[in-house]
């Protein structure tokens, strides 16, 4: 037992115990605890094993800088790995598991990795991947995957919901410590709309529970008064909200942990909320992170950051040890020692690496009865899974080392301002010799932030309050709200962590720089010896700073080590650029409500419900759900589509084609517009007639095919493929806006306004006639490519004599509201003729038999010459895409050409197969690929369409459809792409 709960102090509720379990062991904390403070109060120091070497690790810090104490929370669908114990709030029944230990935390068999240290040294991954030993990865991988890692991912679906919200304000203050609270207050006093975010559970930062006065009230009272004032002014206060990204236009991303501190979210409450914050001005009051000191064994449980040890005592009423030793390289360690002693924690001795300290600092040690040794440092730590002694010696090596019993070593290694957000917004950091750390530089052009408090290098509370208020005032003024805010309160001066002693040149042994990624000082030295002198290279070579904590406690020590080793100044070494996210973001928060059925909106045709009621097996086609086939008793998709397709050829079928894109093109210049857009002539199209047409892209490749129906001199209805609808609409709008804005034409998407159904088969005319009694539908009135307006049971319908199947066929369009009625009417009229509805599988079968191209062929890489559609290219006019059609490559003899395939062995073919000339053992180079396949009831064969090099000249040849992924290599014979009625007599008749 080491840490314990102090008898008084802290912002915890001593009347409200909270029960939780750590690796199954029952524990008790208090309301207001973090998991880390509760574990420390229980005397638990060993919390996890390290990433690479499986070294025992405990809590190092107090908040988001924590590199060691990563745990898995909860179970089942609410299991969440890699949570910092310092950020997790305690709740009743919380299940906590340690990570990366096997078989148990106390006895970890994989700690042998620590003995195999050289194997996993700096650059191990790099060398294994890139070097001549790359093949070794095959052997190492399974072992490394198990040995090095974080917590296991959840195996079950997350039962909770996540929300996304937008927040608009004039001044956003990031960080609710003394500087942030002062900034928020000043901005609010000026009348600005203020939002204040803090990643921790409560506002106040390092002042929470501190035994000091602000103005003339206790620190906690001052914090509460500021929050009450801000709430009264309507400020948005967001605790538990970490800002992870700062983007252009003063847009910031943040995640609010709405219910992470509860056993489960209440009904309707999201677990987390992703905020998109748009603000005029930003105040970054993100504080500073204390640095560890570099010495052998600085990662042993019980070795912690000094101000974190102080905050555990003052904020949570927890002593991290029975006898604390402070190791400082600056004055702030002494301030922490004084506060600890005042809170009732025993501070036995203070080592300060500096040869001399001032009289006021010396007086602190005297006042608290601690043994102060200046010019001393710690050189080793002792204890297996928890510190029980340190060896210390004069830092200059001049004297004898001594051993001291202690169960908590508090390191004060200087302060690193948290500048990640400013850096994300494009600010180049500037090195500060006084801090021994980089500060945010000037804002990039257009950036609207200012930095205040410890984040700006002001480490004293009085300075934080004054500069915070000034920054809040300046931000409000810049946002257009000028008034004179009240003066910030006074507070007593304190020792601060400026001018830290330099890092030692060569810390011995296992002195860790990056705790989370297990990077040692020696690894930095090795990287330098191997030539990685740039800090960006060092980072990638050693993985330093690349863990989930983003190297908050590590980066600056690494820069200082590099500087010392290469004789450069730290400013010359430079820093790496910070990128979003500054902290891990759960995928659920990014997805928000867009999960499951809400992932994408589903478009429904007017006949959708009928399909479902009648055995339609729905499957996604673009944003739609379409029936693949209508299953009868005992049928499979295959037997059903064969029946449906055969029935179209033999009698009549009905297919829902409402999903086709439909665009109304209207205006005096509509015909001119379409004439430029389509490759074939459209101006000459007579009113009451339809025409098949091809649209090309700028580069001459095929964009889409479809039909144009001329409804009047000035009005056309254009149809597109189902999946091409959006692209065609944008294409037409673009051509109108950018190429021919003078044309008087209006484009309107009417896809959802029309229901459409294809009535196809030799009996289709009889069915149509029966459904439209009194209306003449014969070839004289409604020939192939003709249009007819009529009324079906009172509903206006538009009938086009178009055929995708190659049979006599009609597309019947009606208003969407009449869709299901018209569908039912056609089925009823068709019953005596043996009508059956058919789905997309049969639709595909019929068009493949007929050699019509669709999505499988129109993949964006084909020209009209590949598809044999030269006949649709007008020679009398220029049209969009025509200029680039004469490029020689499009006319090469070995260009892909559309052909049909017959599977001569009678086995089904698979789309995506390659066409090969040789047998399985010597296939030779690919000669093309299979684009669409089906069983053809009309020919009784397995057939396909394919794009084959010089394909037309090879018709009649035998080749192989090679699909090595599935082990298939089937003989095929090349055929003309049209298998049914090549003369077109059936569709015209």
């Amino acid at each position: 037992m080491s840490g314990y709960r102090l008898t008084s102090g802290g912002n915890v509720d001593r009347q409200r115990p909270v029960r939780f379990a750590f690796d199954g062991r029952p524990c008790t904390g208090l309301a207001g605890d973090t998991l880390a403070s509760a574990l420390l109060a229980e005397g638990i120091r060993l919390v996890g094993r390290s990433f690479k070497y499986h070294r025992p690790r405990g809590v190092l810090g107090i908040a988001a800088e924590e590199p060691n104490a990563l745990v898995s929370l909860r179970g089942g669908g609410r299991h969440e790995p890699n949570i910092q114990a310092t950020m997790a709030e305690l709740h009743d029944g919380l299940e906590v598991r340690s990570q990366n230990a096997w078989p148990s935390l106390g006895f970890d068999a994989l700690a042998v990795n620590g003995l195999a240290g050289p194997l996993f040294g700096a650059g191990f991954y790099y060398k294994t991947f890139m070097g001549p030993t790359r093949r070794a990865w095959m052997w190492f991988e399974p072992f490394i995957r198990r040995a090095a890692g974080l917590g296991p991912p959840p195996r079950q679906a997350d039962p909770d919901v996540y929300d996304r919200n937008n927040l608009f304000c004039d001044v956003l203050v990031v960080g609710g410590g003394p500087a942030g609270l002062a900034a928020a207050r000043a901005a609010a006093e000026c009348g600005a709309r203020v939002a204040l975010c803090d990643e921790r559970a409560a506002f106040g930062g390092s002042l929470r529970g501190a035994a000091r006065e602000i103005g003339d009230v206790p620190a906690q009272d001052w914090i509460d008064a500021q929050l009450a004032f801000l709430a009264g002014r309507g400020a948005v206060l967001l605790p538990r909200t970490g800002v992870f990204g700062y983007y252009d236009g003063e847009t910031l991303g943040a995640v609010e942990r709405v219910a992470d501190h509860l056993p489960a979210p209440s009904s309707g409450q999201p677990r987390q909320r992703y905020w998109t914050i748009r603000t005029a001005e930003v105040v970054l009051a993100t504080g500073a992170v204390e640095r560890p000191v570099l010495f052998a064994g600085n990662d042993r449980p019980g070795v912690m950051l000094a101000d974190s040890v102080r905050q555990y005592a003052e904020t949570y009423g927890v002593a991290c040890g029975r006898s604390v030793t402070v190791l400082a390289n600056n004055d702030s360690g002494h301030a922490a020692a004084r506060s600890l002693a005042a809170a009732g924690v025993t501070v036995a001795r203070i080592f300060d690496q500096r040869p001399e300290v001032g009289p006021a600092i010396r007086a602190i040690a005297v006042g608290i009865g601690a043994d102060l040794r200046t010019g001393w440092t710690v050189v080793a730590t002792h204890g297996g899974k928890g510190l029980h002694a340190v060896t210390a010696a004069p830092a200059d090596g001049s004297g004898r080392a001594e051993r001291f019993e202690t169960d908590c070593l508090a390191m004060a290694g200087g302060w690193t301002p948290a500048i990640a957000l400013a850096s994300q917004r494009g600010s180049a950091p500037v090195w500060s010799d006084a801090l021994g750390a980089p500060l945010a530089g000037v804002p990039a052009p257009g950036a609207r932030w200012r930095v205040a408090g410890a984040a700006a290098g002001r480490l004293d509370t009085a300075g934080c309050l004054a500069e915070g208020a000034a920054a809040g005032h300046a931000a409000a003024r810049a946002a257009g709200f000028d008034a004179a805010p009240s003066a910030p309160p006074a507070c007593a001066a304190e020792p601060v962590g400026l001018h830290p002693a330099p890092v030692p040149r060569h810390p011995d042994g296992k002195a860790f720089v990056d705790f989370q990624n297990d990077v040692k000082c020696a690894d930095v030295a090795l990287a330098l010896r191997e030539g990685y002198v740039s800090v960006e290279h060092l980072k990638r070579y050693t993985t330093l700073g690349m863990a989930t904590d983003q190297g908050r406690t590590a980066n600056v020590n690494a820069i200082a080590l590099m500087a010392a080793a290469t004789g450069r100044s730290p400013g010359e070494v430079g820093t790496t650029r910070f990128r979003a996210p500054a902290a891990p973001v759960a995928l659920g928060a990014l997805a928000g409500r867009h999960t499951g059925a809400h992932f994408q909106a589903v478009r429904r045709t007017p006949v959708q419900d009928w399909h479902v009621r009648h055995g339609g097996v729905l499957s996604p086609v673009g944003p739609w759900l379409r029936p693949r086939a209508y299953l009868r008793e005992g049928e499979t998709i295959r037997t059903a589509y064969i029946r449906e397709a055969a029935n179209v050829r033999g009698a009549v079928g009905l297919c829902d084609v409402s999903t086709l894109g439909k665009i109304a093109v209207e205006g005096p210049d509509a015909a001119v517009f379409l004439d430029r857009v389509y490759s074939n002539a459209m101006q000459s199209l007579a009113v009451g007639r339809a025409r098949y047409g091809l649209m090309l892209r700028d580069d001459g490749m095929v964009l889409d095919d479809g039909t144009a129906w001329r409804l009047s001199e000035t009005s056309f209805l254009v149809t597109t493929t189902t999946t091409g609808a959006g692209a065609v609409m944008t294409h037409l709008e673009r051509l109108h806006a950018l190429f021919w804005p003078g044309l008087r034409v209006a484009l309107t998407s009417v896809t959802s306004q029309w229901a459409g159904m294809s009535l196809a088969g030799p009996r289709s005319r009889e069915v149509l006639a029966a459904a439209l009694p009194g209306t003449e539908v014969g070839n004289g009135v409604l020939p192939f490519m003709g249009l007819l307006e009529a009324r079906m049971d009172g509903a206006p319908v538009l009938v086009a004599r178009l055929s995708f199947s190659g049979e006599r066929a009609y597309e019947v369009f009606c208003g969407a509201d009449h869709g299901e009625a018209v569908w039912e009417r056609l089925l009823q009229a068709g019953r005596p003729h043996g009508i059956m509805p058919y789905g997309t599988e049969a639709l595909g079968t019929l068009r493949i038999e007929k050699g019509h191209v669709a999505g499988g062929e129109l993949d964006g890489r084909v020209s009209p010459f590949n598809l044999g559609l030269e006949g649709l290219l007008s020679r009398k006019k220029a049209f969009f895409g025509s200029a680039l059609l004469e490029r020689p490559g499009l006319h090469a003899a070995d260009r892909y050409e559309l052909v049909g395939l017959v599977s001569t062995a009678g086995v089904p073919l698979r789309a995506g197969s390659h066409l090969a000339e040789g047998p399985r053992t010597r296939p030779g180079p690919s000669q093309g690929f299979v684009s669409s396949t089906t069983f053809s009831p009309a020919t009784g064969q397995e057939i396909a369409l394919a794009l084959v090099k010089g394909g037309r000249a090879r018709i009649g040849q035998d080749m192989f459809a090679a699909d090595p992924v599935h082990g298939a290599h089937h003989p095929v014979r090349l055929a003309p792409p049209c298998f049914v009625d090549p003369e077109g007599a059936r569709m015209r008749g």
């Binding site: 983007y247 252009d248 236009g249 847009t251 748009r278 494009g426 990039a444 052009p445 257009g446 430029r676 700028d698 580069d699 944008t730 709008e733 673009r734 109108h736 806006a737 950018l738 190429f739 804005p741 003078g742 220029a878 049209f879 969009f880 025509s882 200029a883 680039l884 004469e886 490029r887």
Partner: protein, 90 residues
């Protein structure tokens, strides 16, 4: 990034679709293949200020000519082009 749509006001990037480089002018249909090849394939791709076309696809569907800094994403101006063209104010 927010784009100030002249018809809808400032709107989030997610409502817009990038259409292409606006430094090039649209060739006539009858222009020769070299002119079209230059239009289709040649880009200046500047770092800094650039002219681009964006469509307000989840809004008014107008095409906008946007003067944007590709390094900082600062948007200096946006105007509608096409039949409903607006004045470029900046």
């Amino acid at each position: 990034m927010r784009i100030p749509c002249p018809t809808c006001g400032p709107r989030d990037l997610r409502e817009f679709t990038y259409i292409g480089d606006a430094l090039r002018s649209a060739p006539a249909l009858e222009a020769d293949a070299d002119t079209w090849a230059a239009y289709v394939y040649t880009r200046r791709n500047p770092r800094g200020e650039h002219l681009e076309y964006w469509q307000h696809s989840h809004g008014c569907r107008q095409f906008l000519r946007v003067r944007r800094d590709t390094a900082t994403h600062v948007i200096h101006a946006a105007a509608c082009v096409g039949p409903h063209a607006t004045e470029d104010e900046a």
